[in-house]
């Protein structure tokens, strides 16, 4: 805890808040998106919005991989799990995520599907070894941080000659999503993107490095600061963003240099590119189809690809038309602007991606921050 406490010191936080307040020009607004769920969590958990000056606002980004996983992929997984020979291994966070018919993996399990909650890819290997007659499928999801463990799992299955293991691959790429948010459909019809800069992913960048963001900063004239998940990391990253905006710079800077380098983890990158390749496009809940934003297994590993192995059909499911996630992710709207917020869309029954996990924009606001709406109204 000692290590962590250094990054949560109230006095230092107040010092940083004063610095941000002093440097932020009072006549303008600064609107920054924190990309990761981990960032959103830090903001909500520590109440950073109360510490930051009023003209510096944070927009919650696509959150975590659970939030952006489209209902169609959940539907596909449910159909897969309903096959009598299949044992589906799933991270716990995914269990409650609703598919299109309101059905979730949790309810499929209650109806008899063999779905196991696991904590790591290695659990799936263990289950496959113990049950050689079952088709064990790992529901792989996550940004670049979680792809290497899936690669390791496939390698291990190969080494152990396991014939009953496969992966339902839903790994996605963060720079592609950032690109999509910045490019946004609105921009073509005169719409705006109300984002002045990004606090870029921490853990993801330990793998891919800071380099992949450079073209984004350049192409869209947006500063990007890679920031850690501790609250003081966030504050410092925000200060760095304010400075870039003030000085008219659009660079990729690295606040999280204790873990992130420009080039990232080469070995992990190679491990991943040996086994995975880009999909033409992948659907993101809230963003729609995003080109080159997802990974699939290479042909050489087709036997480990559940989509091939079980001839799984792609399905498309439209998001609820009233859901404003897309606009929220582009900084154009806030959760309270959605008429479903807190009425029919709550963390218990999420309608859109931003409500699915506590790290999504709507769920974070509902769970931690909604008291501020009432304070505002009262004021």
């Amino acid at each position: 805890m000692k290590y962590a406490d250094e990054f949560r010191d109230k006095t230092i936080a107040q010092g940083l808040a004063r610095a941000i307040g002093a440097e932020a020009e009072s006549q303008r607004e600064y609107r920054f998106m924190e990309f990761c769920g981990g960032h959103t969590h830090a903001i909500s958990r520590y109440g950073l919005e109360d510490i930051l000056p009023a003209n510096v606002c944070m927009i919650h980004g696509p959150g975590c991989p659970v939030c952006v996983l489209p209902a169609s992929r959940i539907d596909m997984a449910i159909r897969l799990a309903e096959r009598p020979e299949v044992t589906l291994c799933v991270y716990g966070d995914l269990m409650r995520v609703p598919g299109s018919q309101g059905k979730s993996l949790l309810s499929a399990k209650a109806y008899g599907a063999d779905i196991r909650m696991v904590y790591s890819t290695l659990d799936a290997i263990r289950i496959a070894e113990q049950a050689p007659n079952r088709e064990v499928v790992f529901f792989a999801i996550g940004f670049e941080t979680t792809t290497p463990p899936t690669a390791v799992m496939i390698r291990l299955a190969e080494k152990k000659w396991l014939k009953n293991v496969s992966v339902f691959c839903n790994h996605v790429l963060t720079p592609a999503a950032m690109h999509n948010i910045l490019e946004g459909p609105d921009i073509h019809n005169g719409g705006r993107i109300e984002i002045d800069g990004f606090v870029g992913p921490a853990h993801v960048s330990t793998i891919i490095g800071t380099k992949p963001y450079e073209v984004l900063a350049e192409q869209f004239d947006k500063p990007i600061v890679i920031g850690g998940f501790e609250p003081l990391d966030m504050m410092q990253a925000i200060l760095m963003l304010v400075r870039q905006v003030n000085e008219g710079r659009y660079e990729v800077e690295n606040q999280y240099s204790r873990a992130v380098t420009r080039k990232g983890n080469r070995r992990a990158q190679e491990e991943v590119s040996d086994i995975f390749e880009l999909r033409d496009h992948f659907e993101w809940r809230g963003l729609g189809l995003v080109p080159h934003s997802g990974l699939k297994l290479k042909q050489a590993y087709a036997q480990f690809d559940a989509e091939m192995r079980f001839a799984m059909h792609e399905v498309r499911v439209a998001d609820n038309p009233a859901c404003e996630c897309g606009a929220i992710l582009r900084g154009l709207k806030r959760p309270v602007d959605c008429k479903l917020f807190g009425t029919i869309c709550t963390p218990e029954i999420p309608i859109g991606s931003c409500m699915v996990s506590s790290e999504g924009a709507c769920a974070a606001h509902w769970t931690y921050g909604r008291f501020r709406d009432h304070q505002l109204r009262r004021a």
Partner: protein, 348 residues
């Protein structure tokens, strides 16, 4: 007179429960007398009736019941047996009552080891004796393998409540203090640390304990200035305070830095992506106390070993939205909401 047929002794060391032990025959009688009576030892059980008759002191009676399905059955700081005794005693005690008697019902899987059963029964007996409470009636059922995850226990408790004492959430008033009896999240963190697939080295021990002696001291010190008491089990402090907020129509404002959480528990929760305020306790209580008596009640709590880390963590405030809010040690604010869904670690 016909001689008693020969019956082999229970082989506690190597034996296992089989379906005959729940079938109502002699095997069951032997299990009950050889294992449970031995462990719980009291005059009511010794009479061997299907029910127990007992006297009740003056005052109103209090009754509660609870099922225990904890997994794993054995965890640092206790097992399902001690938990089933402590948990039900605490439910009686939170009303301000004095717990007297318990019943215990066991659903056991065939194949369950006698040795484990004995350990569990013994720790129930021990927990009851230490608490001055008797397990006076019970039931045993055996189900097929795989049907009960080892074993489930249900316990029912009765106690008496002194005249004039009536604790209830709607009695809370603006300005009341929120007291907790000690560090939060120990039980849940201990269980999580032992869960299969998630074992990590920690020194975290469940806080499972019977709180009625602590409650008696508090009632003696504070009487009806104690508005309501709850034990924050599932859903942790967050769920308990949200419940009280809803029932009382008030909000709460807490100070994060005043809330006791052990460093090891905080670290484990961090690792698992949990909030200690959502994690279960089995030997802690929350009391809402009138402001003028709060210090006296707090002093009484601290005088008892189970309350030595007791703390005043915040106050009841007027709030139509009934929010439980916390001032973070970082200087910001946030809501402490009910937990939604299963509490599971984040994956990224």
């Amino acid at each position: 007179m016909r001689a008693m047929a020969y019956q082999r002794k229970l082989d506690i060391k190597n034996g296992r429960v089989d379906l005959s032990h729940g079938a109502g025959g002699r095997a069951m009688a032997q299990l009950i007398s050889g294992l449970f009576h031995e462990a719980f030892g009291n005059e009511w059980l010794a009479r061997g009736n299907d029910q127990a008759a007992f006297d009740v002191g003056a005052g109103r009676m209090v009754m509660t019941t609870d099922g225990y399905v904890v997994s794993p059955l054995f965890f640092p700081g206790g097992n399902i047996g001690s938990l089933a005794v402590h948990g039900t005693i605490n439910d009686v005690a939170m009303g301000g009552a004095r717990p007297l008697y318990l019943s215990a019902s066991f659903i056991i899987e065939e194949g369950f080891r006698f040795s484990d059963l004995k350990t569990i029964a013994d720790s129930m007996g021990e927990a009851a004796r230490a608490a001055g409470v008797y397990i006076i009636t019970g039931d045993t059922k055996v189900v097929e393998r795989g049907k009960a995850d080892g074993m489930f226990i249900s316990t029912t408790g009765v106690g008496v409540l002194a005249d004039g004492l009536d604790l209830s959430a709607e009695k809370a008033r603006v300005g009341d203090r929120v007291l907790v009896s000690g560090s939060l999240g120990d039980h849940g963190a201990a269980i999580m640390s032992r869960r299969q697939n998630l074992a990590f080295e920690t020194e975290i021990v469940s806080d499972s304990a019977a709180l009625h002696h602590l409650v008696a001291l508090m009632v003696a010190a504070g009487g009806s200035s104690i508005r309501v008491m709850r034990d924050p089990t599932r859903g942790g402090l967050a769920a308990t305070l949200n419940e009280i907020a809803h029932q009382s129509g008030l909000g709460f404002r807490l100070q994060e830095k005043a809330i006791p959480v052990k460093p090891a528990v905080a670290a484990a929760c961090e690792l698992l992506g949990l909030d200690p305020l959502h994690v279960a306790n089995e030997g802690k209580l929350v009391a809402i106390v009138a402001p003028d008596m709060a210090d006296a009640v707090l002093a009484a709590m601290r005088a008892h070993p189970l309350g030595c880390d007791a703390a005043d963590i915040g106050e009841a405030v007027a709030d139509n939205h009934r929010f439980v809010q916390i001032s973070t040690s970082f200087g910001g604010g946030r809501i402490v909401d009910w937990l939604w869904g299963e509490q599971l670690p984040r994956i990224c």
